[in-house]
Subunit: 145 residues, 2 copies
Amino acid sequence: MDSDKSHIDETTPRTHPRARRRTRQRSVIQRVLLEANRPLTPQDILLAAQARAPGLGIATVYRTIHTMMTEGTLVAVGIPGEAARYETAGKEHHHHFQCRECDGVFDIQGCPTDDLVKLAPKGFRLESHQVVLYGVCPPCTGMPA
Amino acid sequence: MDSDKSHIDETTPRTHPRARRRTRQRSVIQRVLLEANRPLTPQDILLAAQARAPGLGIATVYRTIHTMMTEGTLVAVGIPGEAARYETAGKEHHHHFQCRECDGVFDIQGCPTDDLVKLAPKGFRLESHQVVLYGVCPPCTGMPA
DNA sequence: ATGCTATTAATAAATCGCTATCAGAAAATC
DNA sequence: GATTTTCTGATAGCGATTTATTAATAGCAT
């Protein structure tokens, strides 16, 4: 019984669980993130998920975020001066737009990568970049969604 | 005594002083910011300034930052996931590079503004933008400064 | 169904960045 | 140099975000 586990190579030291379980809370949070199609704050996630999983706690949101980040199914999106937001991994290279009215962050496509690469001065090894556009989103300009 | 002040129009409600004094601490902090030529965190400022003003406290750094921001001689620079940094105002439009080794932030010149403007999707009113390049700075690549 | 254990909700507590407080130090003014 | 009032340093406090704790709940394998 006990010797059966002795050969298991724990190369991935898990902070949390060793065998994942499919819980209602986790499913709902994952669905919220998938359907949002834009980066959400932990609070955003909590609010949206509580509609489908009453009683959901903020700690579970953070735990699920960690789990998904570890799995590689979620990535953090940082916006200057803001708490981290999270969006599903696997999207193609893109950047973000933040509305100064509602503070919402939206995905935008396209990127003048070549032009940005040229900005790196001599001696600086460029590895990645990030663009954030600021302004007002359609709903906040009075336009219908 | 009291009536003398009654005619003063306090249109600018000062959080802090009304008549600035030239103190050693303030001079040193301002010099640090001017000579840095790149955005510094309050902690950066504190460390650099303490060399020239022993005993300098963090509160004074924050106070001076506020004072200078109010004066318009300092602007805040936000880097995703980082505390605010500050650099002297008046520079022309530019962006920043952050070293993932030392976390230092450096000014870079040039900006493909036209290309970035095109990224804003229909219905989004673009007002400003920010570019952050990530990589390794010259000193951290082993190169001499 | 039962048992094992991952998971959860609630909440306490730790961080972090920044601000307020206040007595003493030090500019500016006389 | 004495006076006045700003300025400073030390530290407590605050708001926001994130993590740890813990007893109870609920997947999942048997």
